[in-house]
C-alpha cells in the first residue's frame, strides 16, 4: 500500500513538473495545449520514473 502510494506520488510529481515544463516551453497556451501537454507529461513521467529506478535501484 505504502509502495503504491509512493509510486503514485512520484508519478504525480513528475507529471506536474513535466506538464509545467511543456507549458513554459511552447508558444501560445490554449486548452488544447494543456490537454496535449498533460498527456505528454504523463507519458514522460512514466519514463522518468522508469529511468530513475533504473539508475537508483541497483
Amino acid at each position: 500500500m505504502v509502495r503504491a502510494l509512493t509510486a503514485g506520488g512520484e508519478l504525480l510529481g513528475w507529471w506536474a513538473a513535466l506538464t509545467l515544463l511543456w507549458i513554459v516551453l511552447i508558444g501560445p497556451v490554449d486548452t488544447l495545449e494543456w490537454v496535449v501537454g498533460a498527456g505528454a507529461g504523463l507519458l514522460a513521467a512514466a519514463a522518468a520514473r522508469g529511468a530513475r529506478r533504473a539508475v537508483g535501484d541497483r
Binding site: 515544463l21 513554459v24 516551453l25 508558444g27 541497483r58
Partner: protein, 164 residues
C-alpha cells in the same frame, strides 16, 4: 543590423568557427571537448540571432540543440573512449573550457533574460541556460571519466566500467 545580431555574428565567427576547426582536426582529446564547446556556442548564437531578428520561435532551435548537443558529445565520448584513454586531454584545459562555457552562457542568457522582461519568455531562456550549463558539466565529467581510464589502466573510472 542591431547589437544582438552583431553579437551573434561575432560569437559565430570568433567563437563557434575556431571551435568547429577544433572539432574537425587533431586528436580525439581535442575534438571531443571542442564539440562540447561548439554546440554550446552555436546554441548561444541561435539565441542571440532569434532576439536580433525578433523571431521568438527561433529560440526553439537553441532549446533543441541544448539537449542534443551534450547527448551527441556523450555518444562520441563512448565511441572514442579508447582514443581518449590513450591520449587523455589535459585537466586544466578541460576545466578552462568548461568554465569558459559557463561564462559564455551567463554572458548571453542573462542580458537576453533582462531584455525579455519577467514572463514566460524569460523562464524559457533561463531553462535553456541551465540546460546548456548542465550539459557542459555532464559532457566534461564524461570526458574526465574516459581520460581517467587512461591514467589508471585496469581501474575503470566511475560510470565507465560498462558493468551496468
Amino acid at each position: 543590423m542591431n547589437g544582438w545580431t552583431a553579437a551573434g555574428t561575432a560569437l559565430l565567427l570568433c567563437g563557434f568557427a575556431p571551435a568547429a576547426c577544433g572539432v574537425a582536426t587533431g586528436r580525439a582529446s581535442r575534438r571531443v571537448p571542442a564539440q562540447n564547446v561548439a554546440t554550446t556556442l552555436l546554441s548561444l548564437v541561435f539565441l542571440l540571432l532569434a532576439q536580433g531578428f525578433a523571431r521568438p520561435a527561433y529560440v526553439d532551435t537553441a532549446l533543441v540543440l541544448s539537449v542534443l548537443g551534450p547527448a551527441g558529445t556523450l555518444l562520441f565520448v563512448r565511441l572514442l573512449a579508447d582514443q581518449l584513454a590513450d591520449h587523455p586531454p589535459g585537466e586544466r584545459r578541460l576545466r578552462a573550457l568548461t568554465v569558459g562555457n559557463y561564462v559564455a552562457v551567463a554572458a548571453v542568457v542573462l542580458p537576453l533574460s533582462a531584455a525579455a522582461g519577467p514572463g514566460r519568455a524569460m523562464v524559457k531562456l533561463l531553462i535553456i541556460g541551465v540546460l546548456l550549463a548542465l550539459g557542459s558539466w555532464v559532457a566534461t565529467r564524461a570526458v574526465h571519466a574516459a581520460a581517467a581510464m587512461g591514467h589508471g589502466r585496469g581501474a575503470p573510472a566511475e560510470g565507465m566500467s560498462g558493468d551496468r
